[in-house]
Symmetry: C2
Subunit: 215 residues, 2 copies
């Protein structure tokens, strides 16, 4: 029986709220209806106790009994092993969900994070560096578009791969980066329209709002 | 019994040779002494047959019987399940190797790829965009340094996590990015000093050299 505690920050400034990566884990837990607790680590003091669980001083981490897991990809893979609602149990379906889970992180987010960070920070767009970043993302979207035009979910049924891929594309969409990718955009709407996403998002926002109230 | 075929490009231009990601898979296969064949996909024509195996038009992919797997991370995770030389078989060791495998791709390579690509392309370094890229990598290296100063391998014994992490850091080292990270640098030397890396690297170089000769 899983004994799950998700740790996120006790507080973050408003801009990243709704985007902190504990959202991915909350979403998965809600999809699978797995019971879990939420714990907090101090945002302003990321000392040895924090680094012992998350060596980059980030969140989230998940404990399952005496197992402590960092990296949202690793956590979602672990949760996929706990529920067929998160990962097909047959070898072929499991393989498909796993390769797309990696694709979300290492092929698409690899291109989208520099793009969204540049947008967020307002870097100039008349540079060779920006053109490289923008072209890299467009290339990935060009390949994702026919994939998502041809299927509802990446691995046959909804899985952790969709949680990661839609969460990655959602941030691109926030900066109007999916205008030429209607299938990607529809996929983001389809995924984030699920009740489990709404619950996870509302819970994260409430967690940080409660921290404001306590300050 | 695994029936493994690794597909890479039939040819690539000289600069990326020794860095194409089939190297990661070759290295793992050599470490585990798993028998495998190497197949080629046309570099200059990435049509539907290619995209059916690798939807971004890249390499590598691995077939194991009738299972076809893309994403180097997913492939290495699959191989980790085939050999204790690639992943500790106990749950705690397996978890440690898995989280560090994701960390290599989604925390470290996420920061190192924009950095190495900027170096490779000679983007100017007096910009806000470069400062962001450089600071991002330095932050990750700052966190990796004490980890690698305190252990020989990431997950107790050598594992697929070390193949990915050292391959990622190796490219940073090629651009002299590990000068302030002696433990990271020593780790790269330790990992790439293994006979299986030398064999995998030589085999990749020979594969592309043979393609030159046939052109």
């Amino acid at each position: 029986m899983a004994d799950l505690t998700l740790t996120t920050f006790d507080w973050v400034p408003p801009p990243p709220r709704g985007f902190v990566r504990d959202l991915r884990v909350r979403w998965a837990l809600e999809e699978a209806a797995l019971p879990y607790r939420v714990a907090s680590a101090p945002f302003s003091d990321r000392g040895p106790a924090h680094l012992a669980h998350q060596p980059f001083g980030q969140v989230p981490w998940l404990t399952d009994g005496d197992l402590s897991i960092f990296e949202s990809g690793a956590i979602l893979l672990h949760l996929g092993g706990l529920s067929a609602k998160l990962m097909p149990p047959d070898p072929r379906g499991r393989n498909e969900a796993t390769e797309w889970l990696f694709a979300a992180l290492n092929s698409v987010e690899m291109a989208s994070l520099p793009w969204t960070m540049s947008k967020f920070m307002g870097h100039p767009t008349d540079t060779a560096a920006w053109k490289f970043v923008d072209d890299f993302l467009k290339l990935r979207l060009k390949h994702m578009e026919p994939v998502l035009a041809g299927r509802e979910w990446l691995a046959g049924s909804f899985s952790v791969a969709d949680i990661l891929m839609s969460d990655v594309l959602r941030i691109v969409d926030q900066f109007d980066g999916l205008g030429d990718s209607p299938a990607c955009r529809a996929y983001v709407a389809r995924a984030t329209g699920r009740p489990a996403f709404a619950k996870a998002h509302a819970d994260q926002m409430a967690h940080f709002a409660a921290a404001d109230a306590a300050r």
